[in-house]
Amino acid sequence: MSGGERKKRGGGGGQGWEEAGAEFYQESYPAAIEADLQALQRDPSHIATLLPSKKTRVATTKRVRNEPRTTLRRRTSTRSRGASTVRRMSTNVHDVAVAMLPDLSENLSNEERIWEEIMQIKAMPICMAQKIQLKHQLQSATKLRLQGFDQLKWQRRKVWQQFRVRLKETYSKMELWHHSLKKIEGNFGTGIVAYFLFLKWLMFLNVLLFLLILAFILLPTILMVAPEAESCVYGTNSTNGSVACCSKAYQNINTSTSTDITDLVQGSGIMEFTLLFYGFYTYQTYGTDGDGLKYNLPLAYICTIIAIFLLSLIAVVRSAARGFKERVVEGEGQFYQYCNLVFGGWDYCIHNEKSAVIKHKALYNEMKAFIEAERMEEERQNRTREEKIKLFLIRLLVNIFVISVLIGSATFIYYIIDISYASIASYPVTSSDEGFQITLSNITQLLFEFLPYMCIVGLNLTIPMLFRYLIVLENYSPLVIVRVTLLRTVFLRLASLCVLLTSFYKLIVQEVGEDECYNSSNLQPACWETYVGQQFFKLYITDFLVQFIVTFFVNFPRSMIARHTENKIIRFIGEQEFDLPKHVLDVVYSQTICWLGCFFAPLLPLMAVIGSFFLFYVKKFACLVNSTPSSQVYRASRSNSLFMLVLLLAYTLAIIPVGYAIAELFPSKSCGPFRGWDTVWSLVISTFMDFPNWLQSILFFVSTAGFGIPAFIFLALLLYYYYAVSAANKHMIIVLKNQLVLEGHDKQFLLNRLSAFIKQQQDQAKFRQEQSSELGNFMQ
């Protein structure tokens, strides 16, 4: 196939190819052509193996070289490429080392280039002795010293590289859970490790969130001296409802009640008026009565919360986008499924015999399943109408059932919450003098306090199992099964959270008269933000404890029983696989609670850091000790994007109620940084009013329709443009692929012709030779 002919047809897309091909011919032909011809004469049908695409790894080496972006390296790349071409041609690698050396007499390299080349030796597929030899030769070669600025630039690059190596070294020393991860990887493969990495990632995210809170909320509160509280004058009705009086009353309630051990887990009593909760923070600006530093805590509070949500969004979206990009590059996931399975199926990190056996089995099953799916696809097209209707009915029924179960559990939680509140209210606030004694009534009260959360967690444990049995009836393909189960479980969890939030809403949103601090007739808590914070605090603790208990006291005995019994039924009950979707949900759920609660309980991210730290070990135990390796093949890339998607969903759920609370709800008068304001947001607006005029007018302009509509149209156009580009690219891919196939056919055809031709010529030559020798014989 001639390069010229292709160039005419190739159009825009194929230029890279052409270039590579052309260069190759120029480079290797003079040297190799002799040998090629000889080989050809020996075996004409062998001609296919002489094709550049078959013989060399030119493409790779070239690409590797070209990856760094400087044009400087161009020459380098051609040179080493030529070298590796030579290497592949000769089987005796050892004489080649000299040939691989660049021809230095032609063009003297400078130091930087030599150094770059040394850095690139590592990518060559040759053994170490040769690499070292090559390096020494490069080093001892004569080279130009760089002058002036270039020298400086090169030195800087070198130092930077060394610094990066150092950094990597220290980082790998500090890397958390390195050995745990290796162990899990060795036993369960990369898909499960992706989950643990996700857990680790979440922990670091929470550390970041906590640091924000520490820097802008906690430290100022601890370090700075609070201004003198306004004094409260009791008497007239109008002053009774003032901010100052309410705050005082609220503080009095809190300091007067005694503390129980039960308060520690509930976050009430003495715990209520600490840094843990919203209510503690002051509404005044620090440093107003003294001179020097001023710090507006309320403003800092709201800004920090907004920053936390923005930061989380950016982090989640970035990770999700990375996964998404990978999926797109993969070509919509389904293009190369067989190749992925065969070439990327084995996890090279597995080092445990037992999991290796299971991995073999899993791969076998997966291959079977692929082939089966292919057949099922055919079968589905041939499905009769009756079967279709039957399947549809079954799916419809199951879905109706699932929805009713979801609604049922939501109402159940709602009533439980109602009952719980009613019974708590019926207990009088025991202002007892016994101090830290645990009385029966205390315990019952505690039980009622935690009842809703125990119910929520209990439902979360049992209902998914039901779903898992139901899905078998529906006859979906395996991939869809994972997704549908996950989606249903997510809805269950979110539904229970929603019910919890609505019940809060009912309690919180009440008319508060001018002259009172809170609506005491309807059980409204004195400081509802703190109250909500306490609830999330409790929910987080319950959730974590249940994880702990279920792992160590339920699943662990189960797995022990399964390991030591021969009885099939008991084994069936006891044996458990590491059910990835469920564990992902556990983690995402606690993260949602953290997001929901961080406005009301600023220390919740710290709790989440500690929680996820221990959760790692709990899950590690669940994974390594309790579970047997899963018979399902989880792919790292696919599961990772799934995690992020679920997390994004949870984030959206979390931001709605918090946003509503900030923008719409009336903050309680007696506590917190926002007492006295109509809504939290009005503080931001009033701050905005203090901005300089020009800034205000700019921002006002941004919010008007005159700016908004053109901006929207512009964005829409941009979006459409990118959509069009991607569609065109997709089309181009198909066209190019077809073209490749066509080229392949052409090549095959020409090769066959060529080899036939050569053979014919050889035959003729032989014939002639024979004839002439016969003639010779005859002559003799």
């Binding site: 695409s53 190596v165 067989y338 190749c339 065969v342």
Partner: protein, 184 residues
């Protein structure tokens, strides 16, 4: 890591760091792992050549269906016996830092059983067989699998995968570089 230090000079370590994807510390750590395979032999000669059977005791290689192929590909004497430098090369390619193209190059050689620089039907069949042992796909399934595989990847329809085609697949597979990896 004191033991490692006595066996290598600073210069050698610098060489190794420049020529692999490892830092000096990791090189020494790799040497410890290598030494653990045959303590007395490596104790005498730090670059001793270990027979393939010994190298295959390395946990990840022991259970790997392509363990012997890996040894052969990385062995400088081409018979599967590895010196420490070969072992270091191997670990370097399998490390996180190695780029996809380098991994692909070696993976191709590992899968290329007959050494003809093409992944033919025979090679692919052997790969699949090694993946599924002790079970075997029956002939019809195997045929179908190979057919689907070639349909996806064999762009020029010659019934075998050339390196360019193989690399093309690897380029698009995000799982490959994640799974083709051994943590030191």
């Amino acid at each position: 890591m004191g033991i490692g230090k006595s066996q290598f000079s600073e210069e050698e370590l610098q060489d190794y760091q420049d020529l692999t994807y490892f830092t000096k510390k990791e090189v020494m750590f790799a040497h410890q792992k290598f030494k653990a395979l045959a303590p007395e032999k490596v104790g005498h000669n730090r670059n001793a050549k270990l027979p393939m059977a010994k190298i295959l005791q390395y946990p990840e290689l022991r259970v790997n269906p392509f363990g012997d192929r890996i040894c052969k590909v990385f062995s400088s004497s081409q018979d599967g016996d590895c010196t420490f430098e070969d072992f270091l090369d191997m670990m370097s390619v399998f490390s996180d830092a190695a780029p996809k193209a380098v991994k692909a190059e070696h993976a191709f050689r590992i899968f290329d059983f007959d050494g003809d620089d093409m992944l033919g039907v025979g090679d692919l069949r052997q790969v699949v067989d090694r993946l599924t042992t002790p079970q075997r796909l029956n002939e019809a399934d195997m045929q179908q699998l190979l057919q689907c595989l070639l349909e996806e990847a064999d762009l020029d329809d010659d019934g075998a995968l050339s390196f360019a085609e193989f690399e093309h697949i690897i380029e698009k597979s995000s799982d490959f570089s994640k799974s083709f990896r051994i943590r030191l």
